[in-house]
Symmetry: C2
Subunit: 523 residues, 2 copies
Amino acid sequence: MPSKPPEAVDDPHRSTPAPAAGEQFQGPELSLDPDDWYSFAASAHAALDDAIEFLRTARQRPVWQPVPQSVRAALNTSIPLQEQSLDEVYHEFKELILPYSTGNTHPRFFGWVHGAGSADGVVAEMLAAAMNANCGGRDHGAIYVERAVVDWCKQLFAMPDSASGLLVSGTSMANLIALAVARNARAEQSRANGLRDHPRQLVAYASSEIHQCVVKAMEILGLGAASLRRIATDGEFRIDLRALGERIAADRERGLEPFCVVGTAGTVNTGAVDDLEGLAALCAAEQLWFHVDGAFGALCVLSDALKAKVKGIERADSLAFDFHKWMHVPYDAGCILVRRGDLHRAAFSMRPPYLGAMPRGLAGAAEWPCDLGPELSRGFRALKVWFAIKRHGMRRFGELIAQNCSQARYLAELISHEPELELLAPVSLNIVCFRYRPPAGGDPALVGGALDLLNEELVQDLHESGVAAPSTTRLRGRLAIRVNITNHRSRRADFDLLVDAILSAGRRRAAPTTRAPGTSASA
Amino acid sequence: MPSKPPEAVDDPHRSTPAPAAGEQFQGPELSLDPDDWYSFAASAHAALDDAIEFLRTARQRPVWQPVPQSVRAALNTSIPLQEQSLDEVYHEFKELILPYSTGNTHPRFFGWVHGAGSADGVVAEMLAAAMNANCGGRDHGAIYVERAVVDWCKQLFAMPDSASGLLVSGTSMANLIALAVARNARAEQSRANGLRDHPRQLVAYASSEIHQCVVKAMEILGLGAASLRRIATDGEFRIDLRALGERIAADRERGLEPFCVVGTAGTVNTGAVDDLEGLAALCAAEQLWFHVDGAFGALCVLSDALKAKVKGIERADSLAFDFHKWMHVPYDAGCILVRRGDLHRAAFSMRPPYLGAMPRGLAGAAEWPCDLGPELSRGFRALKVWFAIKRHGMRRFGELIAQNCSQARYLAELISHEPELELLAPVSLNIVCFRYRPPAGGDPALVGGALDLLNEELVQDLHESGVAAPSTTRLRGRLAIRVNITNHRSRRADFDLLVDAILSAGRRRAAPTTRAPGTSASA
């Protein structure tokens, strides 16, 4: 509770109000502040207790449950015009929203590459909301916190002092910024004149396993999806360096202008890591920008056991990665680092008079983050990253990353002992792709599309059961159950349970009786 | 405090662990969860008390204070490797970060268009961090909350049901998305092939008062800054419709392809509102996309007294605005609405196999937000907007917006009574641009650049005094003190105090004695 009386708050600068300048400027003035701060504090503390309890009991809940039709209907109202008490609004939140979380706080959430969140992240976000900093620029504490976090990241990836960095919503945005810098570094007139005047078509390269956000970035930047050449991969889903070299040569021969190669540290499908050293050498030889999409895999540098896998990452011209994945900072928080800070600024810096810097005062500070990206309004996401790194220390994150990769190998071993389960890709880091297949003597029709469908249904069954939430993908034309482990709450026993649940669901689905009319197996 | 014992938490699905599959998979497993939830809860509640106290006593602090060199040095450490207790980290936050806020929670923060934050926003952000939703897609509660908020906004701006919307970090990002949709709607092949293949140069139009983020969006999209024609304004800083029509005709004659006009509802310099009805009619006649940058001004629709100023906004093809400005939601939160939802999806929708939707389970839900923008990782910013709208009701925001505009007129009236102050632009909404000028008989050298410098110094003096924080801009070649009022805590008495402080500082600066060596007036 507030330690001071909640009534009038003295303002040391406040003098006696001047007489009103006219009748139209009289009468009471409103604010959004609580009338009664004690009552507000009581409600806020009750909500905090619930938030803590939500995290503490993560394991007790189903991983996921559908949002009932009644809840959807209750949320779908006309626009609220009148105020409600905080307790009323909070009650609705607790009934209609809190029970239907994504599930990624649960130890058996294995779908997509989501971090699991953390308790200290709740504290950091609460404090950031109170400070309400706009980190687009100017001279205030939040700017120095972001600078500290960026400097730590530069140290982590052996970037020089002259490198630049920016916290962003995630790797989608970080990749967009990196490709914009790479594009503008090549086509220097493009800021002013756009791409039409550039003499040749700019083309970039990545493996066929590249994340869709890189394709989207190419589209947004006006380069076009087709200008991202998707190069074949080897048996471990890593870019084929020879095929890459040949394609670059062929494109040059056709009069196109290669400008960038995107390597991936941890592909979304299988967790494969491209040969980053090989890519760095190729880019140096070909004078191409070397960008690394290291959304989750980049942080393997934190683990002695894993850092060899991402060797070469320290040679990237730009690097994108996330804090909300393997560092479990609450959504959202990612980072872009650019080796040549001058090129980064050249792509985004723009200061009209209303954003002019001054030698002193709030408009001071040498570098404003808005000079490094598309956003002028930017929340204080650096605080939760600062809290996470200070609270747990970088070593702990390295240990947890290694733990998740060990759990992936554990799961792969469990799978290898089950004849009804089939591994569909090598386990490189933390992602295990496999499928259920009926035992010998089972339904001979369960092959091809029918087997894909069975596995898809099985994953949906698992979600609806609340036991575990893997996702799916397609690998070499086959549907895979995809278990991604970016979860500090997962224990080996959770994978035992997952395998049991998948075998049960698979057997139920594969048995002819379950495919009677009225079940959703035919959906 | 948690109501249940904080020890082991039962998992209804947890069975006896299977025997370990091999020796390498034994030993304890780590997590980021607190060892002692009671102790964590105690620290978190203490931090919440401080957060509440920070807001409750906003008026007691200086608006701004510089970050001391010692604090900058303390933040500038090598990367933390070892863990620290939450209390230790929190203590550092309280010493090094909290005192150095941007200042926009203070009633006399008038610099730039920043919202002032709110107490209920702190609760909402804390809860969002606990849920840790990734709102890129899938089927969970947060998705329906965002949909509700977007639907409310569609109702507010009379958009049809088929319109689409997305919460974003702010209007910078919203404008970028809008222009991408407009660009792709015109150049249908640009997603695949980029802009080089488009037969003619695409050009867009806005007034010379347009915000820099629209220029940046043109650059990012590969269209180029020069392809945004900046049209002259009238005496009230509104786009000159006749000049606009002439420029469009001239561009067409030159073989260029006009595709979009950006109108502004509330310019950053003076708060001017373009003639949106006139622009809508012109765009209809010319078959151009009509985008409105309504960062703060769009929400004038909430006030009966002000909504006539933005008439025509309901005819926009796309509309960008912020919640963190005049709705005081904690940073960051803005919105993009697009009348033709199909064109919005056509510009951004992309679903590779690992993001495939399913009929049931967590991968269900008809529309994923990632289909409407560049980001796949997206925090749950809809919750704080939902909380703000439910808690206060839309009417209250309309009243507060009208109150800020009334305060701007009040300040203008105070200025008009002071011969040493000169208004430099009409007061359209909530922004007052003026300057100090020495009284008759003062230093005759204080004109032109010297007078600009005096006013710039004066604003820095004000920041450093902690009394008030206006910003500056340039209007028709003259430096203006710019007072922007998006602040629910400001009172008329704060403007009396501001005028007194500016007069004192101006007189001190204008007096010949102050410009002795050693003062910063010559900086």
